[in-house]
Every structure is written in C-alpha cells, then in structure tokens.
Amino acid sequence: MPCDAAAVAAAIRAAAAVITTHRDELVRLDQAIGDADHGENLERGFGFVVSSLDGEVPDNPGAVLKLVATTLISKVGGAAGPLYGTAFLRAATALGDAPVLTPESVAAALRAAVGGVVARGKAEVGDKTMVDALTPAADAAEQTAAVAGELAEVLRAAADAAEAGAESTVPLIARKGRASYLGERSVGHLDPGARSSALLLRSFADSAAGA
C-alpha cells in the first residue's frame, strides 16, 4: 500500500496514542532531570494535532507534517515544542508536495528533521538530548535506504538506532536544556526527549510495517 497523506495522518494518530500511553513514563523521566512536564507537554501537543487532523487531512504527506509542526509549535509549551516543531517543519519541507513517501524521501526527511533540531537547540551528540536518539536514527535510515530497503525497514532501522541512542544518554552529563543545570547529577538518568524521539520513531515504524 502506498504511503500517502492518509497513511501518514494515520501514523501520526497512532503516534499520538503512543505518547498518551507513555505520558507518565515521560513525566517521570523529566521529573528526575527536569521539570516533570515532558509527557504532559507532548500529550497536549499531540492531542491538538489529532484535533487538527479531524478537521482537515491535507492532501500530501509533507502538508500533514507541516500541520503537525505548526500545531506542536503553538501548543507544546516546553522546549519540545520548538524542537519537534522545527523537526517536523524541516521534514515537511524536505518532502515537498510529493504524493507518497519513498524509502529515500523518508531518510532525507529524517535527516532534515535532525538538522532542524540541531539548528534550533545547538546540541551535539553526547549532550544528553533528543539529538542522541535522532542522529543515529537518521544515519541508520540513510544506510538502509541506500541498500534498497523498504520503507518499513528504513523506519525500523531508524527506530532501533533511536532506542539504542536514547539508552546511551543514561551515563551522560547533560549539556543542553534544563537538565544541564543539574550537571553531574544528571548522570544515571535517561533523557526524556531522547526517549520520546525513540517512541515516536518506533510508532512510525510499526505503522509502516502494518500498512
């Protein structure tokens, strides 16, 4: 089945449901090294995304992601708003108005998304942020697309890499975001934004595999 606007909208709805399921986990992670609102922020933002999609389903995947972006920017409230907002915006721009996703376009969109997060937040790999999950995910997606992997395989590779990248944040000292105020005391905790990035990518991969 081609991955068109309707399929992308369905994947976004599924991701919103995953965020709701993991809301408390994300709150707990953010409680340890932040201000305990990451789960709440994302649940609110994706809740509004779902309402926007109820109103109109834009007619290509890029336009769906643009709607996600503008909604997250307006509704999330914490750092995750401008960061994920910029990520979805850049991904939307990379996709242009192509009617369906391809393995290559998804890999390129993910790369553009990571570029957006880095441009917005100035974090590098190793700073204990969502960049630690997203950067290896974009690398894995590109590698899989390059060897002619299917769309679902590209996203599965990205999700696997994002999960490993998120785990890798545990021993790190936070150097960006609110957690950086804790310095050494941030060691031993999973970064909430890295965790939510891995959750989103896993959800997208599951949607692609089921489609």
């Binding site: 708003g81 401008p82 960061l83 917005r120 937040g121």
Partner: protein, 216 residues
C-alpha cells in the same frame, strides 16, 4: 521590546522595572503559558506584532526554550530582519536596552546596550582623582535612575571617554546601569574624569547638570 519568559509574573516584573526608566518605549511581556509556567509561541508572536513601531523589535528571554520560541517567532515574521533575539542577562539587558531605546538609539545600539549590560557594570578599576571634576550629589537620591539617564544622555554626540568614580569603583558615564551600580545616594561625592577631544565639554555639561541638581 518583548520580554519572553516561562513565568508571566517574571516577564511582567522585568517590564515594570524597565518601564520606570523608559516610559515611552513599547515594552511587552510575553510570559507563561495558559496561566501556568511555559512559553507560548502564539503569545510571543502577538507581542512582537504589538511591539512593532517601525524601528525594530528586540526580544529578551529567560531560559533556553524561551530563546527557541523567540527565535521561531522571529523566523516566522514576514521580514525577520525587523526583530532580533538578543543574548543578554534578562534584567540588566532589559533595563539597558530600554534606556538606550528611550534615548532614541538605533536598533543596533539598543542590541549592544543589552548585550554588554553585564560587562558595563561598575568596575573596581581605580581612577586617578587628581585631574577630575569633583561633584557632590546634592539631590536626594544620588545617581539613581533619572539622574543617571540624564547624565548618560547629556554626553550624546561628544567624542570623549567619561568615567564616574565613587568609593573605589568606576563606571562608564554613558552606561546608566554602570552608574546605577555605583550605589551612590544623596550627599555622596563622586569624581568625573574625561579624555578625548570633547573632554572639556563633557565635564562642563556634567558640571552644569550637577549645579541644577540633575533636574530634581
């Protein structure tokens, strides 16, 4: 100017403080989210629109994600060069920028006033008092907000480096914040020194202000 903060009360407080010294500058607080803590992109965008008077908008922020929201709001403008997010200490930067804007400074000058707000504070570099003008502050409050602003603005257009020193500390006389941070009160004696082509005129103007009690 727009003050972007996670807290509504913090943004309002910074605006209140800056407004005291810059009553004519549009200062807009964009703090909090839905009555609680957070940064509200739509509120920041509205504040930028409201602050537009044709001369440019300066945005100051408190913590990291407030900067991200401010940056995004600027990028989404029709002409992003109309507004600038400045990296500056929030309170000192807001006061310094507001005072500069009140004095009619250009966007660039307002930005550099904000950005140098911390380094402009009084230093403990001693100044040789011998060749300076000694002034006893006969007004009630010393070099407080209004007198300091008057002193700084009286030097506009002069090519001179002017320093005010008090009790072992010295301040750049063009920086209201630095003058404030000297902590003078009524009755204190300060020393004013000047170098450069317009040094004599600078000292004359300041002496004049002092004679007139800084307008009090």
């Amino acid at each position: 100017m727009v003050v972007v903060s996670h807290s509504g009360r913090l943004a309002e407080g910074v605006v209140e403080l800056a407004r005291q010294m810059a009553p004519d500058v549009p200062l807009i607080a964009a703090g909090g989210l839905a009555g609680g803590l957070g940064t509200d992109f739509d509120a920041v965008s509205d504040a930028v629109a409201q602050a537009q008077s044709g001369a440019g908008v300066v945005l100051l922020y408190d913590l990291g994600s407030a900067k991200m929201v401010a940056d995004l709001a600027v990028e989404m403008l029709g002409d992003p060069s109309d507004a600038v997010v400045v990296d500056a200490p929030l309170v000192e930067g807001a006061v310094a920028a507001a005072v500069a804007a009140q004095g009619g400074a250009t966007l660039d000058a307002v930005l550099s006033a904000a950005a140098s707000a911390l380094t402009d504070l009084a230093s403990d570099k001693p100044v040789d008092p011998e060749d300076g003008l000694e002034i006893v502050l006969t007004n009630a409050v010393g070099l407080h907000a209004r007198p300091a602003a008057l002193l700084a603005s009286t030097l506009t257009g002069l090519d001179a480096e002017v320093t005010v020193s008090f009790s072992g500390h010295s301040a750049n006389a063009r920086s209201v914040l630095a003058l404030l941070s000297l902590g003078t009160t009524g009755g204190d004696q300060v020393t004013v020194t000047a170098t450069g082509p317009d040094a004599t005129e600078a000292l004359r103007r300041i002496g004049d202000l002092a004679t007139h009690n800084f307008g009090d």
